[in-house]
C-alpha cells in the first residue's frame, strides 16, 4: 500500500492592537452595542476617503521583524471583490501583489526533536469583516441574518506560511510559537476565543517521496489549536481513504464542526482571479525606509527563542523553568524586573513558577495583572535570603501582599515576622529552655542527638517562631558543651 505524506500550510489572521480601525477613527474595542462603532468610511458610504492608520503599519512591520521577514520598501493596497453581507463595501481592502512583509520563518521542533524552520511566505495588511448574527440555528436554517459592522475594518495582518508542515503536531507547534511571538511583540491580543487570532489550514496528501503536491482543501472555523489538531487528523484520514478508493479530492473550503468532530464541505473554492483584484485608488502607496524599520525594530522586546537561551545560559535555569517563564510574556517581563534588583535568578524563578503563579491562579487573575510590584518581591526575597525572615514567613508575607497590597516591610513588622538574629537577645531564651528541660539537656550531653531537635523546638516556641534557627542551634551547642 502507498504511504502518504501530509502537506500543511497555515494562514493566520491577527487583529492588530490599535485604538482605531485601519482607515478611519472608529474604536476597535471588542463587543459594544451593534453598529455603534461605525462611520461613513467603514460603512463604505459613497464619497468617503479612507486614510491609513500609521500605527497599523508599524505593528505589521513589528510582526514582520519578529517573524524574520523582509519588510517591503514599497507596498500598496488592492480591492478584493466578493459579495457577502459581512462586507459593507462588497470588497475587502487588502494587499495582493505587493504585501508589506515577505519571506520569514519560525523555528519549531520536528518529530525527532530537531529544530525545523517553517517558512512564512508573506504578511499583508487588510481590513476585517463585520459579524453576522443568524436568525436560526445556523446560516442554512436561517430565514434572515443580521450584520453588525463594529468589527468591519478593524486592522488585521494575514500571515501565510509555506506548506512546510508534515503533521498536526508541527502545525500546532507553529501556531503556538507564532501566537507567543506576536504576544511578545505586542502586535495583537492573540485571543482565539475572542477571534483576535484566527487560523485556517490548507492540507493535502501526496505519495511519500513525491514532489508533486496533491489537491488541497482549506479548513475554516478553527477556534483553538486543539480544534486545528483534531481537524488535521480527521482530514488526513478522510483524504487518504478517498485516494485509496480511487476518488478525486475536490479543491474546496470545508468547515470544522466541533460537535461531530468532522470537517464538512462549505463551498467550492474560488480561484484568485474570481476576486477581480485591482489597485485601491483611494489609498496611496506606503514607502518604508531603513531608518523607519530600525526605529520599529528598537521597540521590539527580547523574543522567546533568544530569551529562553539567555535564561538557560546566563541564569542557569533548567529547561522546565525556562519554558514555564517564557511561555507567559507578562511573567517573563516581571522576572526581568525582579532580576534587575535581586540577583539570585534561580530563586526568583522558583518563586514565580511556584507561589506567585499559585496566588495569581487562586485570585483568578491574568498574569498581566500581577498585583505586586517587582521591587517589593525583590525586597521580600532579599529578606528571606539574608535570614531576616524565615521561608514560611516569606510565603505568608507574599500572600498578604497579594491580598492587601501592603508593602512587605510593613507586613513583616506588623506580624512580627522578623527573625531574632541577635545572639545576645537569644541567649536568654536558650538558657531558660535548658534550665526548664534539664532531662533533655542531660540526654544531649550523654550523646543523644535527637534531644537537640526537641530543645530547638522549645526555643522556637518560646520565641514565637521568630528565632533564627541556625543561630539557636549554634547557641544550644555552645551552652551544652
Amino acid at each position: 500500500m502507498t504511504e502518504f505524506q501530509t502537506v500543511i500550510g497555515l494562514e493566520f489572521h491577527a487583529e492588530l492592537k490599535t485604538k482605531t480601525k485601519i482607515f478611519c477613527s472608529c474604536p476597535t474595542t471588542f463587543a459594544g452595542e451593534p453598529n455603534t462603532h461605525v462611520c461613513p468610511v467603514c460603512l463604505g458610504l459613497p464619497g468617503v476617503l479612507p486614510v491609513l492608520n500609521k500605527r497599523a503599519v508599524e505593528l505589521a512591520m513589528k510582526a514582520g521583524l519578529a517573524l524574520n521577514c523582509q519588510i517591503s520598501p514599497f507596498s500598496k493596497f488592492d480591492r478584493k471583490n466578493y459579495f457577502y453581507p459581512d462586507l459593507p463595501k462588497a470588497y475587502q481592502v487588502t494587499q495582493y501583489p505587493l504585501p508589506i512583509c515577505k519571506s520569514g520563518y519560525i523555528t519549531v521542533p520536528d518529530a525527532d526533536g530537531n529544530e525545523k524552520n517553517i517558512r512564512i511566505n508573506r504578511i499583508h495588511l487588510e481590513e476585517d469583516a463585520g459579524k453576522l448574527v443568524h436568525s436560526g440555528e445556523s446560516i442554512t436554517t436561517s430565514n434572515y441574518s443580521l450584520p453588525d459592522y463594529n468589527r468591519a475594518a478593524v486592522p488585521l495582518i494575514e500571515i501565510v506560511s509555506e506548506p512546510d508542515m508534515a503533521s498536526a503536531e508541527e502545525a500546532k507547534a507553529f501556531g503556538d510559537k507564532l501566537k507567543l511571538i506576536l504576544e511578545y511583540a505586542g502586535v495583537s491580543d492573540v485571543k482565539m476565543e475572542q477571534g483576535s487570532l484566527r487560523c485556517d489550514v490548507n492540507i493535502s496528501l501526496m505519495p511519500k517521496g513525491s514532489d508533486k503536491l496533491g489537491t488541497k482543501v482549506e479548513i475554516k472555523n478553527l477556534n483553538s489549536f486543539r480544534a486545528m489538531h483534531r481537524a488535521i487528523q480527521f482530514e488526513e484520514d478522510r483524504q487518504r481513504r478517498m485516494i485509496e478508493r480511487g476518488e478525486k479530492i475536490v479543491q474546496e473550503t470545508r468547515t470544522w464542526d466541533e460537535g461531530s468532530g468532522q470537517t464538512l464541505s462549505m463551498r467550492s473554492k474560488e480561484n484568485d482571479h474570481d476576486y477581480r483584484y485591482f489597485p485601491e485608488p483611494d489609498l496611496v502607496p506606503t514607502v518604508i525606509t531603513p531608518e523607519w524599520i530600525e526605529a520599529v525594530r528598537s521597540e521590539l522586546p527580547e523574543l522567546p527563542d533568544k530569551r529562553e537561551k539567555r535564561l538557560k545560559e546566563e541564569c542557569g535555569l533548567s529547561y522546565y523553568d525556562c519554558a514555564q517563564i517564557v511561555a507567559t510574556p507578562a511573567l517573563a517581563f516581571f522576572f526581568d524586573e525582579v532580576a534587575k534588583i535581586f540577583d539570585d535568578k534561580k530563586t526568583i524563578a522558583n518563586w514565580l513558577i511556584g507561589d506567585v503563579s499559585r496566588l495569581i491562579n487562586v485570585a483568578e487573575k491574568e498574569y498581566e495583572q500581577i498585583p505586586i510590584a517587582a521591587d517589593d518581591l525583590a525586597y521580600l526575597l532579599e529578606q528571606a535570603k539574608s535570614g531576616a525572615i524565615n521561608n514560611n514567613s516569606a510565603k505568608a508575607v507574599l500572600e498578604e501582599m497579594f491580598a492587601s497590597g501592603k508593602k512587605p516591610a510593613e507586613i513583616i513588622s506588623e506580624r512580627g515576622f522578623a527573625q531574632i538574629s541577635d545572639s545576645s537577645a537569644l541567649e536568654e531564651a536558650v538558657k531558660a529552655v535548658i534550665e526548664a528541660n534539664a532531662k533533655a539537656a542531660e540526654d544531649f550531653r550523654a550523646g543523644k542527638q535527637q534531644a537537640m531537635g526537641f530543645l530547638m523546638g522549645q526555643v522556637m516556641k518560646a520565641t514565637k517562631g521568630q528565632a533564627n534557627p541556625n543561630l539557636v542551634k549554634e547557641l544550644l551547642a555552645k551552652m551544652l558543651k
Binding site: N35, K76, L98, S145
Partner: protein, 94 residues
C-alpha cells in the same frame, strides 16, 4: 478579442447578474469591443517604464491612531431597507 457566451455567463455569475438570452449577443459585442480597445495598449513598448501603482504622485499619507466620534446609530441605519434591534437585516444568505 473573441468573447464567448461562457465568458459572459461566468462574469455575470461573479457579479450576481442574470442575463436574458436575448441580451447575450449585445453583451458579447460590447465586452469584445472594450477588450479590443484596451488591446491597443499591448502594442506600446513598455520596456524600461516603471510599474505604475497609483496615478497620484503621493505616498505615506497616514492618520494618527486617535479615536473620533462615530456616526449615531439612527443615522447608520437610516437608509437600510430593513433593520432589527440595531442590526441591519439581510435576506437569507444560503
Amino acid at each position: 478579442m473573441a468573447i464567448t457566451v461562457n465568458d459572459v455567463e461566468y462574469v455575470a455569475k461573479l457579479a450576481k447578474l442574470t442575463i436574458a438570452d436575448e441580451e447575450m449577443d449585445g453583451y458579447i459585442k460590447k465586452l469584445s469591443a472594450i477588450l479590443d480597445y484596451m488591446q491597443q495598449l499591448q502594442e506600446i513598448d513598455t520596456n524600461g517604464v516603471p510599474l505604475t501603482t497609483h496615478v497620484l504622485p503621493l505616498e505615506n499619507i497616514f492618520r494618527k491612531d486617535e479615536v473620533k466620534p462615530c456616526l449615531p446609530r439612527e443615522k447608520v441605519l437610516a437608509n437600510a431597507p430593513d433593520t432589527e434591534d440595531g442590526y441591519f437585516k439581510v435576506p437569507k444568505i444560503f
